[in-house]
Symmetry: C2
Subunit: 359 residues, 2 copies
């Protein structure tokens, strides 16, 4: 770590040094910084002046935190690698929501890396925060336990229910059902489902019975069930839809899954994607096969990330309030009073250009 201070050898002066230089007590110097109303203006000015002259860097945050027990920061724990957190539009929107609330409350956000499960535990142990927001899909992920061990206030998002942990989420099953119903209403009868991963094992391919029975990411399954609720309610036989699981919420995963679905004999006329990124990948795949959207193929996404309205044609999707979800989670963490156990936010079908009547 490169050193910026004037004299790297000498340790930085402390509150004590400033107090001694001025012949006042530690407490007075502390008050000068933190409680200006507790001492006369002249003395305060003298203290600040002496502090500046000595190069006092201000009350040491670590010591202050130890004494007060508060860190004035909340931890953001993300399941995947940090650089992915800053790449995926949905998690960026989420951070934006957290930021909005933290900013009002004057709290910082500590973003902790969690890609490597071993070091993640150490990092979470070392995080000086007042509480955590876990933004994570898998209950079995080791970071969940690492966070719970800290015995700090926690709010989980999109993770289903953990006993004693308030959560924020949406009704994934109902939302997915709405997406499927929209396509049914447009006359579609053959469907492809492009699913987010059910388990974090790098698998990509058809969803087998076995995978449905051992699920690590509950929301993926909930959305499958939601889609199927509508399809079954419409009286469609099981052969009318195929489900492809993607590994990772990348556009390319969507491309690959869509290609697998669209190359089947009797190809689907509509695709249900569990995220907008996957849906946009599917649009690409369709184009590469010479299919035009929505004339030859309808596509519905999920999330309504900002880019969904910018692609051409605009993506029909299920909007979930990404920013508001995060803001709600942050507020739950910061507010002592409200002991809300869990919060389910509304979703909404946004019809744009990628869905049309079946030909």
């Amino acid at each position: 770590m490169s050193e910026t201070s004037r004299n790297p050898a000498k340790p930085a002066p402390t509150l004590n040094d400033v107090a001694a230089a001025l012949g006042v007590s530690r407490t007075t110097v502390s008050n000068a910084f933190n409680r200006p109303d507790q001492l006369s203006t002249e003395l305060r000015d003298k203290v600040m002046e002496a502090a500046k002259a000595l190069g006092y860097p201000g009350p040491n945050p670590m010591a202050r935190m130890l004494r007060t027990g508060r860190a004035e920061a909340i931890g953001f724990v993300f399941e995947d690698s940090l650089s992915y957190a800053f790449e995926d539009p949905a998690s960026i929107a989420f951070l934006q929501g957290v930021a909005k609330v933290c900013e009002e409350a004057g709290h910082s956000i500590l973003v902790t890396p969690a890609s490597n499960p071993d070091s993640a535990r150490a990092t979470i142990r070392a995080a000086a925060v007042d509480g955590f927001i876990i933004y994570c899909l898998s209950r079995d992920h080791p970071i969940v336990d690492a966070v719970l061990e800290r015995r700090l206030p926690v709010v989980s998002v999109d993770l289903g229910t953990i006993p004693g942990v308030p959560s924020v989420g949406i009704d994934d099953r109902a939302a997915a059902a709405v997406a499927a119903r929209h396509l049914l209403d447009l006359g579609h009868r053959r469907f492809g489902i492009i699913g987010l991963e059910l388990r974090n094992d790098g698998y990509a391919g058809p969803v087998t019975e076995e995978r449905r029975n051992d699920v690590a990411f509950p929301i993926s399954l909930k959305r499958i069930l939601g889609y199927e609720d509508s399809l079954k309610a419409a009286g469609l036989p099981a052969e009318s839809w195929a489900i492809e699981e993607c590994c990772g919420n990348q556009e390319q995963s969507g491309v690959d899954a869509a290609l697998r679905l669209l190359r089947e004999p009797d190809r689907p006329t509509a695709l249900l994607a569990m995220s907008d990124r996957l849906a946009i990948g599917a649009m690409k795949a369709a184009r590469s096969l010479g299919l035009s959207v929505p004339e030859d193929l309808s596509i519905v996404g999920f999330d309504d990330i900002p880019i969904a309205s910018r692609v051409d044609p605009g993506l029909t999707t299920i909007r979930q309030p990404l920013v508001e979800k995060a803001a709600a989670a942050a507020r739950m963490l910061l507010n002592t009073e409200t002991a809300a156990e869990s919060l389910v936010l509304p979703t909404e079908l946004v019809v744009r250009g990628t869905t049309a009547r079946t030909p």
Copy 2:
């Protein structure tokens, strides 16, 4: 802050409590957590078991930080509001770069809110970090001083040179000159420049002589000078270009500035925008005036944010290595050895679809 622990009244057990329960010393428990090789496996297991039984949340990070003097975290200080940091593609790319390096080093990122100058100073004072990255455009911004007062290692980005503070940036003037030269080579002779703000005073409109002489954001001026270097070198008279200043790097600002420029008599055939967001706004403006890009109007952006290649037509722009800039800054902060004083990264003209020969 909602309480998750089993017994909210009783304070969490400490290292001492675990030690007492087992009849061993504090240090032994500490070692069990931090230096497993310093004690026998059986004892370690017993300690961990007792810790779990007592509900010990692990070594208190604040106390540990105070003792060790290290926070294992670096602070990210952003000039604007936090929610803007998570909205602007350029700053998101930046965070991604910081995240990549921090992840490898096992450090967390503390994102501190700085919108309100008063509370920003308090937040920066309270930030438990080992160093700061200032991503900021204005040397006069109060947060710069607040950070410097902390006397921690600092790296500044895009901020020009502060004595004693290593910095990372690009050669803005040369990069802007390349953008202008590209348009000159295509035969353009009448230009509009859509500039980022020179001062943070909410002004939007023509850049006056007075504003050029009192600049808070040096890179905005450098880019103007770079554009003009090329225009003047081509022998163009001063009437050949107009400069509009935007307030804020929003698409809408680009729309507004472009409309002002394009409604002038003898309208420019080419626009030089200081960011891709402004450029994309300009594309919108052109469309709204019935001008087609690039047939009637050429546009060059700046940054090469991800969306630049997705708009239609693809945006010609100056690519600057946003992620790498951040990664370099983070590495400078984390590496003691390299006492690099400043780093200038390369830029590159990326020609896509928004520039063409003048009609």
